[in-house]
């Protein structure tokens, strides 16, 4: 139980986010109205996804420097968790866009970036499943992970800032931080970021442990 404090923290923060996010005070703004509450769900999910996918790349780099089974499993499962969070982020963003922009999807630079991020990690999983040799799989997929991440980063973070965009925070649309984030919202937003990121870490933690146990069992059967 000693090491479980952060799991308790995750649950408490998530409960706080959901309750305060739905019941707390939110400024009244034209068009956005109550949908501004998506700030507590959609934005932190993307934050969490970015952090977790970055962790996946870091594990891949560490794998190439010093190969080990554990690092490969970590890189794989952080990527899977990242995809899950990306899907959640896409879903929440899509629903939000339906009620504020009037459409589920537009060809917006930021949305394209999101789609590409999901495609990269989809391709990463396909690549993993098409190589049978374990060590080769680990090394080649690590190379692809790093390469794709480096090639797509400009799209995700730089392009939306250079071009016009419907998305808040770009192209003349003020980001939430400009006037929507009064101090009441900050009180929920920052805990929400921590909560969703920790949830991602927790999911990864469980799936990595399961994968490592399976590995051990497999090796025992072989022996």
């Amino acid at each position: 139980m000693k090491n479980a404090w952060w799991k308790v923290l995750t649950v408490v923060l998530l409960l706080y986010t959901v309750v305060m996010g739905l019941l707390g005070h939110a400024p009244r703004l034209a068009i956005l109205n109550e949908t501004i509450r998506n700030l507590y769900f959609h934005v932190p999910m993307w934050f969490g996804m970015t952090i977790i996918l970055f962790a996946s790349v870091v594990y891949s780099v560490r794998y190439l420097r010093k190969p080990s089974d554990r690092l490969d499993v970590l890189a794989h499962h952080t990527a899977v968790t990242g995809i899950v969070m990306a899907c959640l982020g896409l879903a929440t963003g899509s629903i939000w866009a339906r009620y504020t922009w009037g459409t589920w999807w537009t060809a917006d630079p930021r949305l394209n970036g999101a789609a590409v991020a999901v495609m990269i990690y989809g391709a990463y999983l396909v690549l993993r499943s098409s190589i049978t040799d374990e060590q080769q799989r680990a090394r080649i997929s690590a190379v692809y992970n790093i390469f794709a991440f480096c090639a797509a980063i400009p799209l995700l973070f730089i392009l939306p800032r250079l071009t016009d965009s419907l998305h808040p925070g770009a192209g003349g649309n003020p980001g939430f931080s400009k006037y929507d984030l009064d101090n009441n919202m900050r009180l929920v937003f920052y805990p929400a970021v921590i909560a969703w990121t920790l949830l991602g870490v927790w999911i990864t933690n469980v799936s990595v442990r399961l994968a490592l146990v399976k590995h051990k069992l497999y090796e025992k059967q072989l022996a």
Partner: protein, 220 residues
């Protein structure tokens, strides 16, 4: 210096191989020719295509020609030959030579495709020199981004289907910039060089990452 010399020899070897077994080269030329002709057949009754459709079709043709051309750059090397290179050159020379070779190959192929396309489907481009520059930068971008991908795909089991799957996410940032720059040159408006700088920067970044990562791929 040693590195440059190795790159030079490897490139020479690639060109010579390409020239001797002309099947691949002719295949690519025929691919470009037949896609352009199919486009012509489908649009011949509609009169001049609207500019955005013209632009989109051209980039679809160029993208697939690039994926086909670059995709085989590592596939054609047999396992034994790769082992032989392993004893002769360093991996950095290998990947840089492949990138340089693909850049030259795609430059020729894309300019040819653009020429054929413009002749057959009409040429609505207002600013031709700038458009040619964009096509050339596109060839460089595709070649740099896809070379390492083809090396990765060659290691996997079903590499022919894997190549586009792995390549598309990496190519899309380049393609977005290209279509924007091409549209500007097409309309003859907005001569801002920003998308061109972005393209050059992306290509440099991709070459640098390939240079760093290929030695790890090579060892398997």
């Amino acid at each position: 210096m040693q590195l440059l010399r190795e790159i030079w020899y490897l490139m020479q070897k690639d060109f010579r191989l390409e020239w001797r077994q002309r099947a691949a080269l002719n295949g690519m030329l025929l691919y470009v020719g037949s896609t352009v002709y199919v486009c012509y057949l489908s649009f011949v009754r509609g009169g001049q295509l609207p500019a955005p459709a013209w632009n989109a079709l051209l980039w679809v043709i160029l993208l697939f020609a690039a994926i086909n051309a670059v995709g085989k750059s590592f596939l054609q090397e047999s396992r034994g030959r790769l082992l032989y290179y392993y004893t002769l050159v360093r991996p950095e020379a290998m990947i840089l030579a492949k990138i340089a070779y693909n850049v030259l190959l795609l430059l020729g192929l894309s300019l040819l495709a653009f020429g054929a396309y413009a002749v057959v489907l009409g040429n609505p481009v207002q600013d031709v020199p700038r458009f040619v520059l964009v096509v050339a930068l596109g060839a460089v971008g595709f070649a740099t981004a896809l070379t390492l991908i083809s090396g990765i795909a060659a290691k996997a089991a079903n590499s022919n289907t894997l190549m586009p799957i792995l390549g598309f996410p990496v190519v899309i940032p380049i393609l977005l910039q290209l279509i924007k720059a091409a549209k500007n040159a097409l309309d003859g408006l907005d001569a801002s060089p920003q998308p061109l700088y972005m393209l050059g920067g992306l290509s440099l970044l991709v070459v640098a990452v390939s240079y760093l990562l290929y030695p790890f791929l090579w060892r398997t």
